[in-house]
């Protein structure tokens, strides 16, 4: 038995991927905006004992590609037209007239094909009835109705495909292109005469006899033909008339309210991720702590076992540190899924168009940017829908400034650490907004310098609003949560072990440790040697000041702390960190943060894992954990980076907090991003973007920190 392939082709956002998922059982990403699928996806399915390869093509409006995703679809069809395939033309049933343009072009390929009216439920609601027999007659194709979302009609469709494949294998030739279509598409070789029933009344677009018709003239002829056939194909007797602007569009696209509503929604999303996320975050943290204690109890209390350290300080600290932020991730993706499925994404693009036009991009560039809120990599892929290369490059360049989901854990760690509780949601919102504004500013710079060029006219189809269902949104959200956990259990786990090893080896020689212990003892007994740094002696004092601590315990604690610190500095991680510290210092950061940012290249969450690993030793005094809902790691960070003369300063805390946040926002895209930029734009762009963004981040953070410090923060 031959292996046939089922190729799904159709307009953007007509539901190809939903049908693909129904056929193959895959979980390909779906959403209610044009351009969700930008490269072909493959899967397998078995119908009646016959195995098919299923190919989901990016949506295209025509076979004359105008953007990279359309080109991918076109190429695939042209290259495979002679292979054993069944072409499934998926059509949005509510939008038959426009869709038929592509259908006619596909029909001309003259490959075995079926015509599938998708989303028939919506069409029925609008009172549209299809005369399948007539459609089939006109196109000389099998015509089927289905609802990809619920699976209605999908079985009939697969059976049809299988029987068609069977017939083809037995040598049946597919029905030829209908004569009227053949007549239409003769491109300039012969004087064209439209079939009689189509010809009347079309003088104004009469075909040119000698010159080749332009794409537009060609299209005009097709549409002319379609608009004549259409009344015979559907019955709109009961139709409620075309859907006009809905209430939602009047609201969300309102000329004054549209933009504030967009920002209000972002604001609510980020308030939600924090306020709702806090509680489960606390539970997970307690769980991780309990686990850590339980596992730790397998060893003697003062055991120096390396295995214990690996498990507690490496794996549990690193992975646990990342897993804690699962609730924030789930909430973020819940919000993104709702935006994607409702159809709001395209509205945001319209609302932002005014802004984007000012910087030489257009609203359509904003869709990849919104996708970037989830993850930068698909965001960069989504730029394939843009028609102009310069615009596309500018959009790719600025995309990492849209805070991705992997940066959420960093923000969720840093914000509660450095900012008062009431501000958490607001600061998070501000970070996102600063990202958007910086992106737009940077796009402007690019569009007047290296990517100068005329702005390309903006045209985009507005998808119909769709009520997001619990099923799709829930499945997507849980899936993203699961992906996050899987990442924590694989990549982050592996990296945590590496980071732990880097932070542990080479180990501090015992002789060094003894020297440090002796010098701490000397300090504590009153003879503070001149060379000790003030911060460190301050730390020792804080410990000594605590009332209930006996002098011996205080000494031991101070010694332990200093030895741990020296050991960290002595390790690989410490040495690398020390080497880049001169660059971090002007931003108010030290070498530990430096290593965390270096590690974040592998995956952004690693920042959190690394901070958790290097701050694993030495517990925070209980009295310092006064504020509610602040993770212990956050407390340590605040004590470490926001202390002035041994006291935690609130203003300094915010200054340092902003430097940390902005640096994580702007600097150093992760390696997955660099990889996809290399593929989509080339090495030069990837390197330029990495270096460019990091330098910008450094300049901004240094300026903020230095000015803030001068102002006495």
């Amino acid at each position: 038995m031959k292996e046939f392939q089922i190729v799904l082709a159709g307009n953007p956002n007509c539901g190809k991927s939903t049908i693909f998922n129904q056929l193959t059982g895959a979980r390909q990403h779906v959403g209610n905006y044009p351009g969700v699928t930008v490269e072909k996806k493959e899967g397998k399915c078995t119908i009646g004992g016959r195995t098919f390869k299923v190919v989901d093509l990016p949506g295209a409006y025509s076979m004359d590609a105008h953007s990279e995703d359309e080109e991918a679809a076109r190429q695939y069809l042209l290259e495979n037209r002679d292979s054993d395939m069944v072409l499934v033309n998926v059509v949005d049933a509510c939008n038959l007239e426009r869709s038929l343009f592509l259908t006619l072009q596909l029909r001309e390929l003259n490959v075995p094909m079926i015509f599938v009216l998708n989303m028939c439920d919506l069409a029925r609601q609008r009172g549209i009835e299809f005369r399948k027999g007539e459609i089939s007659e006109w196109l000389r194709l099998p015509v089927l109705e289905c609802v990809g979302f619920t699976g209605e009609g999908v079985r009939e469709m697969s059976e049809k495909i299988a029987s068609l494949a069977g017939e083809l294998e037995n040598g049946t030739v597919p029905e030829d292109v209908p004569q009227w279509l053949k007549d239409l598409s003769l491109k300039g070789e012969l004087p064209r005469t439209l079939p009689e029933e189509l010809a009347s009344d079309s003088e104004n677009i009469a075909p040119k006899a000698d010159a080749e018709r332009s794409e537009t003239e060609n299209a005009a002829l097709y549409y002319e033909a379609v608009s004549r056939i259409l009344p015979q194909m559907i019955s709109t007797a009961k139709a409620k008339g075309p859907v006009k602007t809905s209430f939602l569009d009047r609201l969300f696209l309102h000329r004054f309210l549209g933009l504030p509503l967009f920002f209000l929604m972002l604001y609510l999303i980020f308030q939600l991720t924090f306020t709702v996320g806090e509680y489960p975050m606390g539970w997970i943290e307690s769980g991780v702590e309990a686990l850590s204690e339980k596992v730790g109890s397998f060893w003697a209390e003062d055991s120096e076992s390396l295995l214990k350290s690996l498990i507690l300080d490496g794996i549990i600290a690193g992975v646990g540190g990342v897993v804690v932020f699962l609730p924030n991730i789930v909430l973020l993706f819940l919000a993104i899924s709702i935006l994607e499925d409702s159809g709001y994404m395209a509205r945001a693009a319209v609302v932002m168009d005014r802004f984007m036009a000012k910087v030489g991009l257009h609203g359509k560039s904003f869709i990849p940017m919104m996708v970037g809120f989830g993850c930068t990599v698909p965001g960069i892929m989504a730029t394939r829908t843009l028609d102009n290369r310069r615009e596309r490059l500018a959009t790719i360049f600025i995309l990492p400034l849209m805070s991705c989901g992997a940066r959420m854990p960093i923000y969720a760690l840093l914000i509660p650490a450095f900012f008062p509780q009431a501000w958490h949601g607001n600061v998070l919102f501000l970070v996102y907004v600063i990202g958007i504004l910086l992106a737009i500013l940077l796009a402007k710079l690019l569009r007047v310098s290296i990517l100068r060029g005329e702005p390309v006219p903006f045209v985009m189809e507005l998808p119909a609003w769709h009520m997001p269902t619990l099923r799709t949104v829930g499945v997507k959200t849980l899936e993203r949560g699961w992906i996050y956990l899987k990442k924590a259990g694989t990549i982050i786990l592996g990296l945590s072990i590496i980071l732990w090893a880097l932070a542990t080896f080479p180990q501090l020689p015992d002789t060094e440790a003894e020297k440090i212990a002796a010098s701490v003892a000397a300090e504590m007994s009153g003879n503070v040697p001149e060379e000790t740094a003030p911060a460190e002696s301050a730390a020792a004092e804080t410990v000594a000041d605590a009332e209930e601590v006996s002098p011996e315990d205080a000494l031991a604690a101070a010694q332990e702390e200093r030895i741990a610190e020296a050991a960290l500095e002595y390790s690989c991680s410490g040495k690398i960190g020390k080497a880049i510290e001169p660059l971090m210092k002007p931003m108010g950061m030290d070498w530990r943060v430096g290593t965390a940012f270096l590690g974040a290249f592998a995956a952004k969450e690693v920042f959190v894992a690394q901070m958790a690993i290097v701050y694993q030793g030495g517990d925070v005094e209980d009295e310092e954990v006064g504020e509610e809902n602040v993770l212990k790691l956050g407390q340590k960070l605040k004590t470490q980076y926001a202390s002035v003369d041994g006291e935690v300063s609130e203003s300094r805390s915010m200054l340092v907090g902003w430097c940390f946040l902005l640096f994580s926002l702007i600097a150093a895209p992760c390696c997955a991003t660099v990889g996809v930029v290399v593929r989509e734009a080339g090495w030069k762009w990837a390197v330029g973007q990495y270096v460019g963004l990091t330098v910008i981040a450094w300049i901004i953070c240094t300026a903020i920190y230095q000015i803030g410090t001068m102002c006495g923060m």
Binding site: S62, H66, R98, E215, A219, Y223, R354, V459
Partner: protein, 72 residues
Amino acid sequence: MVLANAQKGNRHRVSEILTSDMVQGKLAAMGLVPGSEIEILQSSLHGAAIVSCRGAQLVLGRGLAQMIQLED
């Protein structure tokens, strides 16, 4: 009259589209050709115009809306 100046709620027939062949082709594929009947759903006084054309709703940037000629 150009689309950019058309009033919300009105129906017009497109007479001419004065852009590059590439953009014309793109618009054609999306259903907008000379001769297409469109209804203005949102005027482009403040940014993009939204029109209903062959059953689809299209967003057209203000720059583009200025290049689309309508019959009166």
